[in-house]
């Protein structure tokens, strides 16, 4: 019987796959990647907040005796009076006479730049962009730290480095955000397509033939996996398109920073998390589709699920800006936000064990959702009889 079920699921999946691939809706699906810009604008406030929170650079101080403390105090005094953002200052080390300090090594500890040397002759070690941004600022604050009413400003020597851990982290956050947005859009598009596909079948009255011919769970699975296959075609097309653009545009094209786990693994994990997110949402949408009989009913019933998915996305995006907090943990554990949060983790941290645990946890929930979704679908999709709660006119609404 299992082989019959799988065979039936295959028949449905094959039909749906071919029907979708050759439909106009698939063209809109392929245009999906254009939507991140729109959604990005809509989610602008949260995105900006995330970026602002993450882009709070820290300047490390490694100066003789208490000169670092004096600079930190001077920064506190001047910060509000200066135009533009002023980085936080942190004293890395109070140097004893004759003691040396490896500023380049300090950059690997998460600070965006290091001020060494002395107040009279400060040395700024940072990336070229940071040097350009902070050189004058360091000179002013060092002068103010040296004396309350400075007569002149010291020349700041610079030691530029190619990159820093903080910069790399920021870039990886961008990669994580891009991954989350893509995941969200793909999931929403596909879940919407699987739902409209089901509604079309109900409208065409095909559903009764299907229900009489094959087990309902085979229909449910066939539909779910057909859309998963459709998404793979879409991803292949987008990947190829992006590759062509990169080759043609060379350095003009924006290239995302390499994720912490590396691109091959990140893409693999991305697909796994996408599959989990889609199967969770798709099961939910199909179960909703089973309850509805008209497009209007579907819209009404699926609205809360769509809103929930938006909230989940914003929640995962918000958690990205709160590393190490309970919010981040909650986003990783909550089944529907877990794929988004874990994809972000893959961009930022090279650890692999959490992904194995997360995938196992999500797979468990996918199993539960598919099982209960199919059961609900089976129970409701062919239900006839009077509309719930309608007492008046019951005789007229009797099933044939």
């Amino acid at each position: 019987m299992l082989s019959h079920r799988l065979q039936a699921a295959w028949v449905i999946a094959r039909r749906d796959f071919v029907a979708v691939i050759f439909s106009k809706a698939f063209i809109f699906f392929l245009l999906g990647p254009l939507f991140p810009i729109i959604v990005g604008m809509m989610a602008g406030s949260i995105g900006a907040s995330v970026q602002h929170d993450l882009d709070r650079p820290v300047l490390g101080l490694a100066l003789p005796a208490h000169e670092g403390d004096l600079m930190a105090v001077a920064r506190g005094t001047l910060a509000d009076k200066m135009a533009g953002p002023v980085p936080d200052f942190v004293v890395l080390q109070r140097l004893r006479p004759g003691e040396s300090f490896d500023a380049r090594a300090a950059l690997k500890r998460g600070v965006s730049g290091v001020v060494s040397g002395s107040l009279a002759a400060p040395v700024l070690t940072a990336t070229p962009e940071r040097v350009g941004e902070w050189r004058g600022l360091v000179s002013v604050i060092a002068a103010r730290a040296a004396e309350a009413s400075p007569q002149g400003y010291p020349v700041v020597k610079v030691d530029t480095v190619a990159t820093s851990v903080a910069k790399q982290r920021n870039e990886q956050v961008v990669t994580a955000q891009a991954g989350q947005i893509l995941l969200f859009l793909l999931t929403m598009l596909l879940a919407g397509m699987v739902l409209s596909n089901l509604v079309e079948e109900k409208a065409n009255k095909i559903i009764e033939v299907l229900a009489a011919s094959i087990p309902m769970d085979a229909l449910f699975l066939g539909k779910l996996f057909a859309m998963l296959a459709v998404s793979m075609v879409g991803i292949a097309v987008w990947g190829a398109g992006y590759g062509v653009l990169v080759v043609l545009g060379q350095k003009a094209m924006p290239v995302l920073a390499a994720p912490a786990v590396g691109w091959p693994l990140f893409l693999g994990l991305g697909f796994c998390y996408f599959a989990m997110a889609y199967l969770l949402l798709g099961s939910m949408f199909l179960a909703i589709g089973g309850l509805a009989t008209t497009v209007r009913e579907v819209q009404t019933l699926s609205m809360p699920a769509t809103m929930m998915q938006l909230i989940v996305f914003f929640f995962a995006s918000f958690a990205l800006a709160r590393p190490g907090t309970w919010i981040e943990t909650a986003a990783r554990v909550f089944p529907v936000s877990s794929p988004y949060a874990m994809l972000a983790q893959a961009a930022q941290s090279p650890a692999l064990l959490p992904h194995l645990l997360a995938l196992a946890w999500q797979a468990l929930w996918v199993g539960l959702m598919v099982y209960f979704g199919a059961a609900l679908f089976r129970r409701t999709v062919m239900k006839s009889g009077p509309a719930r709660g309608r007492k008046v006119g019951r005789r007229k609404l009797r099933p044939a």
């Binding site: 019987m1 019959h4 065979q7 039936a8 028949v11 094959r14 039909r15 029907a19 050759f22 439909s23 079948e201 065409n204 009255k205 095909i206 559903i207 009764e208 033939v209 299907l210 229900a211 009489a212 011919s213 094959i214 087990p215 062919m382 239900k383 006839s384 009889g385 009077p386 719930r388 019951r394 005789r395 009797r398 099933p399 044939a400």
Partner: protein, 335 residues
């Protein structure tokens, strides 16, 4: 509310999967089927026994519970109570590949080509796609629709699309075919074609179970009928037995207008012009004839008419159900 299906299973003699003699005889058997929707009882204790190879009709007005009964028999929905056995199993979905089903509300994928639609319906019943496509073309050719094989369903007329779906219902050569209101929406020509097709199927040993609200179809085609009204089946059995529920009607024409022979007429006799109409007495026609002859009635003609299924339906299901049936037929005629 608890549904005592298991308790009921024990009451019937053929639970389990063993195939007994009755399985050899009955393609479909249902006992005490009950289905409720949100507290409303749509089907209330339906009993049906469809012999293998028979043409069996479920006759009743719209809203009587026909579709719900068929859906339960096919396993599309489960009964709340009762026992069903289809092609030797209590789980109809297990034998779905041996069943063909044409629902009342027809439907195909509009973008599919006609032969692909048939192949898809065949694939649902386990026929490989390649074979389904070949058979689809063959069937369309055989039924004079070969020219439309490569047309999309949306390009076909409603009648043609219905024929395509009908062929898709039969493409896998099922042992049992279930039609829900198969004549609905068909013109007289296509109704005739469908009637012939149903008879051919039965002649080949296929069991045909169909629902209808048109008495003439049931009377013309069915070996047995289940009369259904208000979710109940007050009669299920051979059409002849249903008709025999009513005594035959006598139509008598006499030369004499009055005489001793009048005493031989039963109490319900009524006069219409030169004719008398009355129910054949239980004693039969011979004592009546003798009394008429001995009383010098001068018999010009005497005919005995067996009751039609319509009269039987009125007697079995009641006036209200019969009226509803007629209204349904008129409504469809207007459509």
């Amino acid at each position: 509310m608890a549904h005592p299906m298991k308790m009921q299973l024990g009451e019937w003699p053929v639970p389990g999967n063993a195939v007994d003699d009755r399985d050899q005889e009955l393609a479909v058997e249902a006992r005490g089927l009950v289905k409720r929707f949100d507290g409303f009882t749509a089907v209330d204790g339906v009993d049906i026994a469809v012999p293998r190879g028979a043409i069996y009709g479920v006759l009743g007005p719209n809203g009587a519970g026909k579709t719900t009964t068929l859906r339960m028999l096919l396993g599309i929905i489960d009964p709340d109570e009762g026992y069903r056995r289809v092609l030797g199993t209590e789980r109809p979905t297990d034998v779905a590949r041996r069943i063909g089903y044409l629902p009342e509300e027809r439907g195909l994928y509009p973008a599919m080509k006609a032969y692909e639609a048939i192949a898809f319906l065949a694939a649902l019943r386990g026929v490989p796609l390649k074979d389904g496509r070949r058979r689809g073309r063959e069937l369309l050719e055989m039924h004079g629709l070969g020219y439309a094989a490569d047309r999309q369903i949306r390009q076909l007329s409603k009648g043609m699309a219905q024929q395509v779906q009908l062929l898709g219902t039969l493409v896998h050569k099922p042992d049992l075919v279930v039609f829900d209101e198969p004549f609905s929406g068909l013109d007289a020509l296509n109704q005739g074609k469908l009637e012939r097709m149903i008879r051919d199927l039965a002649a080949q040993g296929t069991t045909v179970l169909f629902s209808t609200h048109v008495i003439a179809h049931a009377e013309r085609m069915c070996d047995q009928v289940a009369i259904i009204a208000g979710g109940r089946v007050p009669f299920a059995g051979p059409v002849d037995v249903a008709r025999d529920r009513l005594r035959p009607q006598v139509r008598l024409e006499t030369r004499a207008r009055d005489g001793l022979w009048r005493a031989a007429l039963p109490a319900d006799a009524r006069s219409e012009g030169a004719f008398w109409h009355f129910t054949l007495p239980e004693s039969g026609v011979e004592p009546l004839l003798r009394a008429l002859i001995e009383g010098d009635a001068g018999i010009l003609s005497l005919s005995i008419e067996r009751a039609g299924l319509h009269d039987a339906f009125v007697a079995i299901a009641g006036e209200a159900a019969a009226r509803a049936l007629e209204e349904n037929a008129e409504e469809e005629g207007r459509r």
